[in-house]
């Protein structure tokens, strides 16, 4: 157990956003003030956030935490109504309506000596604290970060500071290795026959591919699953995933699981559950934005 400052309770009326940065047209970062959460947060954990009183509860991985400053960092991709709306409304100085956590079982930071930490797209953010913790534990950390194109790259500097080696992959070859993170993984495995563990976080299709790539080598591969969630505290079962023969709840049994046991196809089907409602909600919201801009 990592030693920490003594707990002090403070009440928050709302959760203030201290810093806001845009990493690309779709990816943005929020640094939220919550000293108690910053104190308690461990790599691998997430929060559930509501941006306003009639909003959805959405899970967001804690991408970084600063215990001195008392803040946690969330990196968000604007893909649906809620995240697109937050992209507009969540500026520095505004506040989130609800934020609860840190949820999930903290990542088990092992005594692995040589590890590969893989982040695909937005997955770069949640893998950062795990990579840092492994580095602090004395491991040799190879970072593999994958983006679609050069313009979407973020946190390269942060990773260079904590990784012994960094492999950047872009799908279109505009920077680093041309290809997917699996190409980066294979390159690293080819170079080091003694990889103890791999951590892969990103879209389900990427985590599935990464697990498939490492399976022939028998290297333990941990993934962090992102099913739809409502409460995040183990009482609705909406986030259930199939791991081996068992059904687990990602919010209280995860979110980290053994990538070689996870049924990714099932996860991807279940992620489509509200596709229609999401599409309609996004359209309605875009329409209302357009109408708000029309001069009276």
């Amino acid at each position: 157990m990592i030693t920490h400052e003594k707990a002090v309770f403070a009440r928050y009326e709302a959760f203030e956003i201290l810093t806001r940065e845009n990493y690309s047209e779709v990816t943005y970062m929020l640094e939220v003030h919550h000293p108690m959460m910053a104190r308690a947060a461990q790599p691998g954990q997430f929060v559930i956030v509501m941006s306003h009183a009639t909003g959805e509860r959405i899970p967001l991985t804690i991408a970084d935490f600063d215990r001195q400053k008392g803040t946690i960092t969330l990196v968000i991709q604007a893909v649906g109504k809620t995240t697109k709306e937050m992209q507009q409304t969540c500026q520095a100085g505004t506040a989130l309506y609800g934020m609860a956590g840190p949820m999930g079982i903290p990542s088990h930071v092992t005594n692995a000596r040589r590890v590969i930490c893989v982040g695909g797209g937005l997955g770069v953010a949640p893998v950062y604290p795990q990579a840092r913790a492994l580095k602090e534990g004395g491991a040799y950390v190879i970072g593999v970060l994958g983006y679609r194109t050069k313009d979407l790259i973020f946190w390269e500097d942060k990773f260079r500071a904590i990784c012994d080696e960094l492999i950047i992959c872009t799908n279109d070859g505009s920077a680093g290795l041309k290809g997917f993170v699996t190409d980066g993984i294979k390159q690293a495995i080819a170079q080091y026959p003694d990889i103890d563990e791999i951590i892969a976080i990103g879209p389900p299709v990427m985590m599935k591919a990464s697990a498939q790539a490492t399976k022939p080598f028998g290297i333990k591969t941990m993934v962090s699953l992102n099913p739809i969630m409502v409460d995040g505290t183990g009482m609705c079962g909406g986030c259930r995933v199939k791991v081996g023969e068992k059904v687990k709840f990602a919010c209280v049994d995860g979110p980290d699981f053994d990538g070689h046991q996870v049924d990714f196809d099932d996860l991807m089907v279940r992620l489509r559950r509200y596709k229609e409602e999401e599409r309609a909600a996004t359209e309605r919201w875009s329409e209302s934005c357009r109408m708000a801009q029309v001069p009276a």
Partner: protein, 496 residues
Amino acid sequence: MAKKRTVRTIPQERIPVSELDPFIRARNFEEVNCGYTESEAIRESERCLFCPDPKCIDGCPVSINIPAFIQKIGERDFRGAYDIITATNLLPAVCGRVCPQENQCEGVCTVGESLVSVAIGRMERFVGDLAITNGWINKPYIQPSEFKIGIVGSGPAGMACAADMAKAGCDVTVFEAFHEAGGVLRYGIPDFRLPNTVVDAEIEKLEQLGVKFECNTLVGRLFTIDEMIEELGFDAVFIGTGAGYPTLLGIPGDSLNGVLSANELLTRCNLMRARDFPNVDTPLPLGKHVVVVGAGNTAMDALRVSKRLGAETVACVYRRSKNECPARAEEVHHAEQEGIEFHWLANPVDILGDGNGNVRAVRCIHMELGEPDDSGRRRPVPIPGSEFEIETDEVVYAIGTNANPIIGQTSKLKLNKRGYIETDSNLMTSMAGVFAGGDIVTGAATVIEAMGAGRKAARGMKDFLGIRDIGPLRIDRSLFGIDAREHNFMRVRVGA
């Protein structure tokens, strides 16, 4: 001296209560049971025999002095009735609505032996609602003690413990993981049975007693139970985190889109108000043909919510018969009135998909009752070859729950084999000063039992901390020229 009542002299029929028309109410979330008017409540109070040995008091899990409050109703002293009820039951507006009275007070009522029992629950609800409308609160003079109490979970168990400890002068904070307090009263029980406005009113009364509610606080993860005692300065802690972890059937097709737990359906609908989607952001699964597996109160809620959300057909599949069904009788009755179909003695074996990951039908098998199992109920046994299919696009599981795992995961509290917290007879856990009660100890039970546990734990807590409780002040005549009705009394400690 009033003429002594007998079964023959009292009104023979129970005074009926107005209810919304089933056809209309099945499309909205208005409260179905409209409650008694004043004259109806008084008339119903005339049916109580004031038995010399009232069995109803023992039938109540918290032993409310039922004949006494009924007598006050008869005397039109509604405030007095409220005082009597709240001496033991904190939330009459809630319990009058959701207690399974037919298995408790009304089930042992003497009048019920020859006629329909006295409508104790409806009268309790009448008093509770009047208290909310009139803003009554029994706020005794509270002498502050120096003790700080933490309550984990803002459901009925936590609320009851909080109220008692606040009345004993302690500094009480209730922690809630959700963004709104109330626990199962908020997320689980729908508005047409227990309006959220009633839950709000009861929470406000607790705040008036000095109880603080902190939402968005996930105890166990944001800080642990250990940290509460060792670092955050709490002198005692009560854990009322409930048993919300849903049980799944474990049959093929469980994870198809359109299969969900009743907890998920109800949380989306009640807490997240998804029934107002798209005016709120949380979506709901809106099946045309909904099947709910199970026949407890949660199943009834899921069935009736689905009806109101616009499903064309709503059916219940339960593996035992109607006689063994555990739901509150009024809920089953209301569900039938609202046009919900019941498939008794049937159990799902397989959920069939449409090839795109969505549910299209559930294959069930007929059951018959065999030998009794450990609970004493006859065990249902499948009848071979009797499979049948029900076309459905939404299957809701309401077949039971398990302990919430978070406190168990984040503390060294002793748990039993099934993950519930072990307590001694004073509801203290294996950690000194840490108490637990409600579903997290007993498994899924009722609101009134949870409240009873909260109160019992409060007694244990006061004992542990050495708080000498003077007890509630009962004044029923005027003293020093001050009328009891003025509620103007202050409790003063004399001597050292």
